[in-house]
């Protein structure tokens, strides 16, 4: 690994670890962002050529917000590696939803930097103590291309003290017997747990409980549910209030103990619409996702891509320092509005299908995270 990358990762990892979780002052984020951008401009010739075509160079930038973004769907088109591509440790891939669609790829040069980002962020939002994690997702060894499985694997090891397990097979089948047993055991031990997984896995789990005429499994007090991923390309879609009410009923947890993780394969940092304390008694639509200090999110006008003021809906564009080894600025297809300490996700831009009688295949949309 190049010395420049090693020292950047080392310094970033230290900064992430030492962070209290409170937002960094503008000048601190600015310094980091410009350093990461300069590094990426230097070491990623594809990105540098793209940036160059926009007439931007690191020395000319006045503000981190001028760092050119790449569209999330470009992760399907080119490998983004800022550094020595022979040192890529892992390629995470977005889930494929169509036969023709290519999957997005995130080439990760240093998995430790991913860990340095995800661990403190999860701890802050989900772990008030050591909770065993019961994951409605495949185990990392079963799904090495899934960034979500990797993240939950790290959580199991580092934050859950090795307690818990994974209850979805590599083919996406829920191990209902195993999960039921684990839930019964948790209930008997009266130790709170973190039940975490993809929204569509939860929907299948809820369907299964219903088929069994099971009233569900009450989780011990203090337990949390973390759901992620949305329903893109799935046969069954639930609106969020309905979904949370069903989860709440099946597991005997209050709605405020259910947290959404907003994440994507293209970003190595995540956003939670917690912490739990702040969601107490708050209506679902009033919740907002809070970035860790090393991420800034801008909301851009969908047509002109110029920045919007707080409260106006637009496309979310994230600047994630944990993406140091790939590309830090990513324009998503998610619509949202900025609020003072984060953003509210309004939904996903769905391409032109709604109005075109001509064919607009959904492989033009960026993939959801697997």
């Amino acid at each position: 690994m190049s010395d420049a990358f090693a020292s950047l990762v080392h310094d970033l990892g230290t900064a992430f670890k030492e962070s209290s979780g409170e937002p960094w002052p503008d000048d601190v984020f600015e310094r980091w962002a410009l350093r990461v951008f300069a590094y990426q401009f230097e070491t990623n010739p594809v990105y540098a050529a793209y940036v160059g075509k926009r007439g931007v160079t690191p020395s000319q930038l006045d503000h981190w917000s001028e760092i050119p973004w790449v569209p999330a769907s470009a992760f399907k088109a080119v490998p983004f590696v800022s550094g020595d591509s022979s040192r890529v440790q892992r390629i995470f891939r977005t889930s494929g939803t169509t036969a023709v669609g290519r999957r997005g790829e995130h080439h990760v040069l240093d998995l430790d930097l991913y860990k340095h980002s995800l661990v403190p962020n999860m701890r802050r939002h989900l772990y008030s103590g050591i909770l065993p994690i019961l994951a409605l997702a495949p185990a990392p060894a079963q799904a090495p291309e899934s960034s979500l499985s990797f993240m939950l694997g790290v959580a199991l090891e580092v934050l859950s003290g090795g307690e818990g397990g994974f209850f979805v097979t590599r083919n996406g089948v829920i191990d209902t017997v195993g999960l039921s047993a684990a839930l019964v055991e948790a209930s008997a031990r009266e130790t709170p747990v973190l039940l975490a997984g993809t929204a569509f896995a939860f929907v299948h789990w809820l369907d299964w409980l219903k088929e069994q005429s099971s009233g569900g499994f009450n989780l011990p007090p203090g337990s949390l549910i973390m759901e992620t991923g949305g329903f893109k390309g799935r046969s069954r879609v639930l609106e969020r209030p309905e979904f949370y009410a069903a989860l709440s009923e099946a597991h005997g947890v209050p709605c405020e103990a259910i947290v959404n993780e907003y994440g994507m394969t293209e970003l190595l940092s995540q956003f939670y619409d917690g912490p739990v304390a702040a969601t107490s008694g708050m209506a679902l639509e009033a919740r907002r996702h809070v970035p860790p200090p090393w991420v800034r999110t801008r909301v851009l006008d969908p047509n002109t891509l110029s920045p919007l003021s707080t409260g106006e809906p637009g496309l979310l564009c994230h600047y994630d320092l944990a993406n140091a080894g790939s590309v830090m600025a990513v324009l998503t297809e998610d619509l949202g509005i900025a609020v003072n300490d984060g953003f509210r996700v309004l939904g996903r831009a769905q391409g032109a299908e709604a109005r075109g009688c001509s064919l607009a295949m959904d492989d033009l949309l960026s993939g959801v995270r697997s």
Binding site: Y47, S358, L364
Partner: protein, 475 residues
């Protein structure tokens, strides 16, 4: 000032209204700051009464001669084409916020559509399809051994897509020509022309006034939908694969179901069109075909294959196309796009620019402010467009290879433009037929298929009419 447009005909104030139910409950949709679209909420009873009334009028239409329909519709078309008639300016003003297109585009689209509704064009359609339009009025002896008569069902139910304004009027006209009463649920983007058309036709041909009802509702939300599917003899549906699937599943086996689902179109430019003299003209026509309807039509090319080895190469031709797209953005500006549509364009463009930056042969030509984008690809393939004037140009070593590369998406293929194939056209047409194409034409004609176009491969009246053969009976 906000205008309210009633996506409904006949108007509720008319005492002739087959629903005769007053007051209506209304729903509204704010389409822009200046326009609210209002549509009635149908109770089970009102829906029942509307369909009974339409069917009753439809049964009596058999006695209305077809030339009465042709000349009435033709007079309405003439009015839509007459720039001094207030109906034309009203239509254009309302098309802008409802269809989400620019005023210039609205004018172009209205002219292109109404041209095909004139008496002359309708006569030509009937002649080509039926040989003798008199078969719609009575038995005619067209060949040996029998007389024949053609008629439509008393009631047809049309569901429009809303993608291209005017398409649902064409659908209405076809049903009226075969003497069927029409219930039309237009798509939200196409609510204006059917209502104005029905209003004008009721004036020009009063006997047809009671044979038309136009009313919008959100798909699946009205009792009228289920009831109309049960009662209509023919259901004509335009829309997404999902919408078509849902309507088809609810149409009784005894009714005919005519479906126009998602389609896409492509262009092929051969060496014969890549001469110094012709290349830029063909590029201008291609830009027009791509930009018309802001590329939302099934006839809009999404990808263009350009043959290598001509005097003008694919890269140079892509640059000509880009320049023509830029000119057209001024002549026929792009319309309103949703956040999702704009987002799709940014994602597509940005990804292509990164492939360009990666040193492949990809090149991106794009508007600074508008959305038009030309992506020159570096190898033969197919990429569906995200629409709104985004087109890929693929270099093709030989035009005859292109049909093969469309194999995977052939069941969605519709129009194929062929330019400059010269004497290879017959062979190419055969290959495109195998690939799934149903129409082969030029860029200039691509946006405006003639009224006798066999849309997606079926004769215009094939599903609408029922033939009766009266054979010679020895006595």
């Amino acid at each position: 000032m906000t205008t309210t447009f009633d996506a409904f005909w006949p108007p509720s104030s008319s005492s002739e209204s087959p629903t005769a139910e007053s007051p209506f409950a209304w729903e509204t949709i704010d389409l822009s700051e200046s326009l609210v679209v209002r549509y009635p909420v149908w109770s089970d009873d009102a829906a029942e009464r509307l369909l009974d009334a339409l069917k009753e009028v439809g049964t009596r239409l058999a006695d209305v001669p077809v030339h009465y329909v042709v000349s009435g519709v033709g007079r309405v078309a003439d009015r839509f084409l007459d720039s001094s008639d207030p109906i034309r300016s009203r239509a254009i003003d309302l098309l802008v916020p409802t269809a989400g297109i620019s005023k210039e585009m609205a004018s172009e689209v209205l002219t292109g559509m109404a041209r095909d509704w004139t008496a002359e064009r309708l006569d030509e359609l009937l002649q080509r399809e039926l040989r003798d339009r008199g078969v719609l009025d009575g038995f005619r002896r067209l060949d040996e051994g029998r007389s024949v008569r053609a008629s439509g069902p008393p009631l047809t139910f049309h569901v429009g897509a809303g993608t291209v304004p005017g398409v649902s009027v064409t659908s209405m006209i076809r049903a009226l020509l075969v003497k069927s009463a029409v219930l039309l649920k237009p798509g939200l983007g196409d609510v204006v022309l059917p209502v104005l058309f029905a209003e004008a036709l009721a004036e020009e041909a009063p006997e047809l006034a009671g044979a038309m009802a136009v009313t919008y509702w959100l798909g699946g939300s009205s009792p009228l939908e289920g009831l109309a599917l049960e009662r209509a003899g023919v259901v004509v549906a335009y829309g997404s694969d999902e919408a078509i699937t849902s309507l088809r599943a609810r149409t009784p086996v005894t009714a005919r179901f005519i479906a126009y689902h998602h389609r896409f179109s492509v262009g092929l430019v051969g060496r014969g069109a890549l001469t110094a003299e012709r290349a830029s003209h063909v590029a201008r026509m291609a830009a027009r075909a791509v930009s018309m309807f802001d590329q939302r039509g099934c006839v809009s090319p999404q990808a263009i294959y350009v043959e290598e080895g001509g005097a003008v190469g694919p890269g140079e031709w892509a640059a000509l196309l880009a320049s023509a797209m830029a000119d057209l953005e001024v002549e026929l500006p792009g319309g309103y796009v949703t956040a999702s549509e704009a987002s799709a364009v940014h994602q597509t463009r940005g990804s292509a620019e990164l492939r360009e930056a990666a040193g492949s042969g990809v090149r991106v030509f794009r508007a600074d402010e508008g959305l038009w984008t030309v992506i020159l690809e570096d190898e033969l393939g197919f990429t569906p467009s995200c629409l709104n004037r985004v087109v890929s140009v693929f270099p093709a070593p030989d035009l005859c290879d292109v049909a093969g590369s469309l194999g995977g998406v052939g069941r969605y293929l519709q129009t194929v433009v062929v330019e400059g194939a010269d004497d290879r056209l017959p062979k190419l047409a055969e290959a495109l037929r195998r690939a799934g194409a149903t129409r082969i034409t030029s860029f200039e004609k691509a946006p405006w298929p003639p009224p006798w176009w066999r849309h997606d491969g079926a004769s215009v009246f094939a599903g609408l009419i029922r033939w009766v053969d009266l054979e010679e009976i020895d006595s």
